[in-house]
């Protein structure tokens, strides 16, 4: 699913050269690749961008405070804009122009949001601003699921993210009250994220599922920073690590399968990356943002590097390329940050080299052990 077309074409040529694939098979595969198309074309992308611009036009129209028009006329404009956008969507679907129809649905959602703002302005409603964003997001979600519209679902995902941040940070301006009086964990985001994820999964649109993954990961990491004391980051790191272990377990259990099993491995591969990002962020904050005793720092650094090595190793074994790259990036960032933190401090460079040396030796031992276990596993599978 996440293998690029170019990579597949290269592999295909190699398989053909080795006679693993017949000439007929190769031509069928190449034909199929062409048939599947390359996603939405330029016209649809331009259509969606145009709609985003129209949406901003509608919203700035509201912001310009059009006092000269009678209120009834303003409302009539909003409602006719709303129904007009959805009527256009229906007409475009009827002509088979699905891409443009989805752009029209997105326009409908933008007009819906502008309508909420306009009515709030007409009645001088200050209220609780995140509620307005939530209402807007729910409108996007309904359109996204019922009309199977990925752009609508993507808009809803972003709006749910804005809503959650606003609820957490509070105030009429982001973060105006600082850390004072932050709310408890904003659990309400989870069912919202689940709903958009179901919508994306039904449409088989994986970039959308990744969008939800990014939203949830950002949400999880944010919780670590919003709560006083060390516990927030510990919970973030442990949750991320649990996700990593769960994803690895599913990958290994479903490894080498086809159909549903291959799908499970793909899912696990994506989830593994998000789990790693969360776990690494939590551990990073604990090491470099919180005050730590030297012993605790060494322990945390060792845990971080061990986690990264396990993920890199498993990523290589299971073919999760994204996880491998994330692991390499994390490893470099970790070593660099440790170096910066220790150099110039009391313990100085000698501590850094001591720690690095111990860690690398421990890693070597672990890699050897993992390699042995892997070979044994492979031997058992073959026999």
């Amino acid at each position: 699913m996440w293998i690029s077309r170019r990579r597949l074409a290269e592999d295909l040529a190699r398989w053909r050269a080795n006679d693993w694939v017949t000439a007929e098979g190769e031509s069928h595969v190449r034909h199929d690749l062409l048939e599947r198309g390359a996603g939405p074309g330029l016209p649809v992308v331009l259509g969606i961008l145009g709609v985003v611009l129209l949406g901003f036009a509608a919203m700035s129209f509201v912001a310009a405070n059009w006092q000269d028009m009678p209120r009834l006329l303003r409302l009539a404009m909003i409602f006719s804009g709303l129904f007009g956008a959805y009527a256009a969507a229906a007409g475009l679907f009827a002509r088979g122009l699905d891409g443009f129809a989805h752009a029209a649905i997105l326009l409908g959602i933008a007009v819906f949001g502008a309508g909420i703002m306009l009515i709030a302005q007409m009645y001088h409603i200050e209220g609780h601003p995140p509620d307005a964003v939530l209402l807007w997001a729910m409108g996007g979600l309904a359109a996204g699921i019922l009309l199977r519209s990925n752009p609508a679902l993507a808009a809803a995902t972003v709006l749910f993210g804005v809503w959650s941040c606003w609820e957490l940070l509070g105030g009429s301006v982001f973060g105006i009250y600082g850390r004072e009086g932050l709310r408890a964990v904003h659990w309400a985001l989870l069912p919202a994220a689940a709903a958009v994820a179901v919508g994306f999964a039904l449409n088989r649109w994986w970039p959308g599922v990744h969008l939800v993954g990014a939203l949830l990961t950002g949400w999880l990491i944010l919780q670590g920073y919003l709560f006083h004391g060390d516990l927030g980051h510990v919970v973030v790191a442990l949750t991320g690590a649990a996700v990593v272990l769960g994803a690895l377990y599913v990958s290994r259990a479903s490894k080498g399968g086809q159909g549903q099993e291959a799908l499970m491995v793909d899912w696990a591969s994506a989830i593994l990356g998000y789990g790693l990002i969360a776990a690494f962020s939590g551990l990073w904050a604990m090491q470099f943002f919180l005050r730590q005793e030297t012993g605790a720092l060494v322990l945390l650094a060792a845990l971080t590097l061990a986690l990264l090595v396990v993920v890199i190793h498993q990523g290589l074994m299971l073919g999760h390329r994204g996880a491998v790259w994330l692991g390499y990036v994390g490893f470099s960032a970790e070593i660099f940050a440790l170096y910066v933190k220790t150099v110039g401090s009391l313990a100085g460079s000698s501590l850094f080299f001591l720690v690095a040396g111990v860690i690398v030796i421990a890693l070597a031992a672990m890699a050897w052990w993992l390699h042995q276990a892997e070979s044994r596993h492979a031997a058992e599978t073959l026999s």
């Binding site: 405070n65 006092q67 709303l82 007409m122 001088h124 309904a142 019922l146 549903q260 099993e261």
Partner: protein, 217 residues
Amino acid sequence: MSTNTPSQMMANATHEGARAADASGIRFTSWLARWRYALIAIVALLQAAALLQMIVSRENLIASGRQIDLKVVPVDPRDLFRGDYVTLSYGISRLPQALVSEQLARGDRIYVRLVRKDGNWEPAAAARQRGKPDTPEEITIAGRVTYAPRQVTSTGGTITVDYGIEKFFVPEGTGRELEKEVNARDVTAHIAIASDGTAAIRGITAAGHRYDVEPLF
């Protein structure tokens, strides 16, 4: 397929579940495709209904809510005028902590009891729960705590509350004038309060000039 190990059994069970979920997913999406045009209409109507509900509830509140006038107090002028609306602050926006007996947190819903004294409405008590019914000389207004000191102290901390009536939108370019009048302490807000305490601005009077929320029809 042999099922020797627990992990394989579990994986198989998961795959069965995934297959079943897939089948029902396909049924659902084909149902969505069959009813696509009806669903487009439903989505449009749902969104329109949500907007309409906002309008109707506000119109009702303004028409049938109890009407009181509140003095607007000056706020930091730098914060006052943001774009095309004026930020309004009231005497009841800052409550002495002595009025509240419970520990409040930011975001809590709060009911503030106002009592009429010499023609002005002044806060008499505040609580998380709504108190006794209103009388001609007393009314309850609902708000949301935006700041509360961490601990209940007797030394007189201040709680700040938003009532949803802190923004007044004005025609483009007229905000500056209104800002001067607010600072000259010459602005009164005309508020409608529903029986559940929800408040809405009906209009404001600044230096003798009244700006009203025009009726819809």
